[in-house]
């Protein structure tokens, strides 16, 4: 497979996530869309790591190719932490206004 295919796939997924952030109003769904974006990046990173594994400098030392996957691992770590905090915030919001619609968030503006 050519790297372009993976790039395009990742970008399409990323865009879907982004469009989701743009159009959806349920904050949980928006958050899920962000998770999708992160995942598309993960996919891209892995693809790049496998690309570098057979080309260029990384061919000689496999750790270089590993780097990206380690990075993906850390992304997952961070994502997990983010989810914890994010869902806590959403729950807190729900407790207060019994809704998770981001359009209700308009006390702060102008």
């Amino acid at each position: 497979m050519d790297i372009k295919a993976y790039i395009i796939l990742s970008l399409v997924l990323f865009s879907i996530g982004m469009i989701g952030v743009l159009v959806r109003r349920n904050s949980i769904v928006v958050f899920m869309c962000i998770e999708l974006m992160l995942n598309s990046v993960n996919l891209l990173l892995v693809a790049f790591s496998k690309m570098h594994a057979i080309s260029g400098i990384a061919k000689a030392s496999p750790t270089y190719a590993n780097d990206a996957q380690i990075f993906v691992f850390f992304i997952m770590v961070v994502a997990a932490a983010e989810v914890t905090v994010g869902l806590a915030i959403i729950v807190m919001l729900y407790r207060n206004i019994h809704s998770v619609d981001i359009n209700f968030l308009n006390r702060l503006k102008n």
Binding site: L44, L45, Y64, A68, F71, V78, E82, M92, L105, L108
Partner: protein, 463 residues
């Protein structure tokens, strides 16, 4: 290195202190002690050039006198922040020790983002900074504004994290060295490859988001407005300065040699930031929100360091960070004790609280950039660096026009304090004691000292 480790450790200590000690002010004093220790440890590292800890980070972290100087400034400002706003943190909620712990974790993240040499460390540093901030923003649980701010901040912050990661991925993909080390990004001096270019734009966007540069600033006013004032003070100063430091460190080390290829991005963002920050601030009635826009406007000035990317700019960034942070911390500390956050709330403050009014005036003058205050030196170094860069002088002219506009909203506050009659007889501020006033005056003196003799800070860079 000292900062990163000790702040992490101190964060844990604070956490446990929260579990075992019920007295709130103990947490505050513990935190102040922590900052002092951090400052000393950092000074030791800056002085001797060696860390207390011998840790092999595999070159993912790199210290230099420059970033240590920056950390010293940051820690100094944090110390001032604790001293001035410690009591407000106590009042912010029930989990005082935890708040302090989070702030120490943030300092750890600041340390990372000031010394990173790998994109991974940058990513971790930024996340360690932002995740606690989401929490602090939402810490006023009963306050819908606070929750709203937290959720907005969180959603948009996570979004920008996504953008940043995409950028990192593209940089990695386009880097034939297959490395995340920012000094190992093989880009040459010719035109960028599309991959690098895409990565660069995304990184630029996400970093602009973190430093709230337009047009990626939209979270800033709402979040700063909604968050508890005391935490707004922290995130609009120290965190923002750290963001800028990471920004310049990343772009200088990774893309410095092709600076002129992405300078147009900086110009666009700088102009947009100056315009939106300054112009929108004019209309604000709430001082807190006005300060939020002002922080955007100030970010526009700090963007010059990316525009010019020379020694003068680097020096300027540190001075600017110190000047801006000290002044903003001071003004927020005063704001936190005001009964009414609107500009009218400041009416006649000079009568009821002359010290507060005077110090607030000094802070505002510093933010405006009047000579003798640190703010002037910051702006001066920034503009000087841009002129040294030699290109696009019109940008500098635009910047000073906006600086003049900024006087408009800063002086509105001064006018309210000094030239308008107080509304109520009971006074505008509450809970003011001698120590607070004294600290404010110390803060003013610091601003003046830096304003008169900036080499006090700059000298350390070349230590």
């Amino acid at each position: 290195m000292n900062t990163i480790l000790i702040s992490a450790i101190w964060g844990v200590i604070m956490m446990f202190a929260g579990a075992f000690i019920q007295n709130k002010s103990v947490a505050k004093y513990l935190a102040i002690a922590g900052v002092v220790i951090l400052f000393i440890a950092n000074a030791q590292e800056l002085w001797t050039g060696h860390s207390l800890f011998n840790i092999n980070s595999n070159d993912m972290l790199r210290t230099s006198s420059y970033n240590l100087t920056f950390l010293a400034v940051i820690l100094g400002c944090t110390g001032m922040y604790f001293l001035l706003s410690g009591r407000d943190i106590e009042k912010a909620g029930t989990h005082v020790a935890e708040y302090f712990a989070l702030i120490f974790f943030i300092l750890c993240g600041v340390g990372l983002s000031a010394t990173f040499n790998s994109l991974l460390m940058l990513f971790l540093g930024i996340e360690i900074i932002t995740i606690p901030l989401y929490i602090l923003t939402g810490s006023a649980k009963g306050n819908l504004k606070s929750i709203e701010a937290a959720l907005k901040y969180f959603l948009m912050g996570a979004f920008s994290t996504g953008l940043m990661l995409l950028g990192i991925a593209f940089i990695y993909g386009g880097n034939p060295n297959a490395s995340f080390y920012i000094n190992q990004i093989a880009i040459g001096t010719g035109p960028m490859t599309p991959m690098i270019a895409i990565g660069l734009v995304f990184l630029f966007v996400s970093m602009s988001f973190k430093v709230s540069a337009a047009p990626f600033h939209f979270w800033t006013p709402d979040v700063y407005d909604g968050a508890p004032t005391v935490f707004t003070a922290f995130m609009s100063t120290i965190v923002k300065a750290a963001g800028f430091f990471a920004f310049i460190r990343l772009f200088e080390n990774a893309f410095g040699q092709i600076h002129d290829q992405w300078q147009n991005l900086v110009i666009f963002v700088t102009l947009a930031t100056l315009l939106i920050g300054n112009v929108t601030a004019i209309f604000q009635q709430s001082v807190k929100r006005m300060l939020a826009y002002s922080s955007i406007a100030q970010a526009g000035f700090m963007m010059f360091v990316l525009f010019s990317m020379n020694d003068r700019g680097r020096e300027g960034l540190i001075i600017y960070a110190a000047a801006y942070s000290l002044a903003t911390i001071g003004i927020f500390a005063i704001l936190a004790r005001m009964k009414d956050y609107t500009i009218e709330g400041f009416n006649g403050l000079s009568k009821t609280q002359p010290v507060l009014a005077f110090t607030a005036t000094v802070f505002l003058l510093s933010l405006t950039g009047i000579p003798l205050t640190a703010g002037f030196q910051g702006k001066f170094f920034m503009l000087l660096s841009a002129i040294e860069n030699g290109k696009q002088i019109w940008l500098v002219i635009a910047a000073v026009v906006f600086a003049a506009i900024s006087a408009y909203y800063y002086f509105r506050l001064i006018q309210a304090m000094y030239f308008k009659e107080a509304v109520s007889e009971t006074g505008n501020a509450e809970d003011i004691n001698g120590a607070f006033k004294f600290l404010l005056i110390v803060n003013c003196l610091l601003i003046f000292i830096i304003g008169v003799y900036p080499e006090l800070i700059v000298g350390w860079i070349y230590h």
